[in-house]
Subunit: 206 residues, 2 copies
């Protein structure tokens, strides 16, 4: 097996998609089949949803703590969404990449744009639902939001999908297994790129 | 499952690698797990090796027939290697690509360069052995060539590896399963590229 060596840098994978598309489930499935990936847990000031665990789904922090991190320049990017802050710690990511570990960022569209601008070598992937109707079904099935909120999310989802042309890849979440397999394939293919492997051929050429 | 539609063109995959690297075995494994790929069978004037089947490993033709195909401009590329012709039929490939079927070409370095020049949208993959020592072991294990021929092949292998920087991807054949999985992943990732999928997002944006 060719594994990322200590000297070969990891890949930074930026994953976005509209609210309700099922990114978290797809990521959970990917991390199950690829335990060597570091999933970057975002920081947020929003309240945990039922079942969400601090340090697993998000690092839940107060508004005051988040604003301290902004002031201390500890964040790769941050954004506000529906009145809450969401952000990504720069240091944790750099440490993993430098040790050859792939890092997966689950990040909304605004933040993804900022990461792409700061890290042009990052690979960006946009997850879309099979259709708008299916997304509506999934948002209703979640039973956590009012009809009003769902309609706003659907409208926002359509808007967010407008940005997908800026991403390198589009993955359709028709089934969790299929979408996770596509993510896994994209990751593997990134490590097979010639610029990542040319040193192995040079060893043969001598 | 998102399958290539009738209107979405297939991907042309150009696979090269030094003699003895085990490309045929890797391809057989890939075709076992991806039965929807069309493997383009090359035409050659060389004699079949033990176990090779006409129309499966190669289309074995006479020198006269091959030279007729050259004259009739029926070939995407052709080359001479150790006194024999090797070539690829253009028409068969175009038909499959137009019907959304991925086509895999197993082709030596000279021919691959010609295909890349004629079809810049093709994805090119170079298979390398884990090391030159391992390649030597494999060539000896095949028991079909004299020591002299093996030494010439090894020297040629090193030379051929010099061209791998022109390919899009490098796959290391350490184990057949691993190499085939990498090929499969590269193929899947090509279909996830944004320009291949943007129409699906446009359906959602409306």
């Amino acid at each position: 097996m060719i594994e990322p060596s200590q000297t070969e840098k990891g890949e930074l994978i930026v994953l976005s998609g509209p609210s309700g598309v099922g990114k978290s489930t797809v990521i959970a499935q990917l991390l199950k089949i690829r335990k060597d990936i570091h999933f970057s847990v975002s920081f947020t000031t929003r309240a945990p949803r039922p079942g969400e665990v601090d340090g697993v789904n998000y690092n839940f922090v107060s508004k005051e703590e988040f604003e301290r991190m902004i002031a201390a320049d500890e964040l790769l990017e941050y954004a506000q969404y529906v009145g809450n802050y969401y952000g990504t710690s720069m240091k944790v990511i750099r440490d993993h990449l430098d040790h050859g570990v792939d890092v997966l960022l689950d990040i909304e569209v605004q933040g993804a744009g900022k990461v792409r601008a700061k890290c042009p070598e990052a690979v960006s992937i946009f997850v879309i639902p099979p259709s708008l109707e299916e997304l509506s079904r999934r948002l209703h099935g979640r039973n956590t939001d009012s009809e009003d909120v769902i309609l706003r999310r659907l409208e926002r989802a359509r808007e967010e999908c407008r940005g997908c042309g800026d991403y390198d890849y589009i993955v359709v979440n028709d089934t969790v297994e299929h979408a996770a397999d596509e993510l896994r394939s994209i990751l593997i293919s990134r490590h097979c790129r010639t610029n990542k492997r040319i040193h192995l051929a040079e060893d043969i050429i001598g």
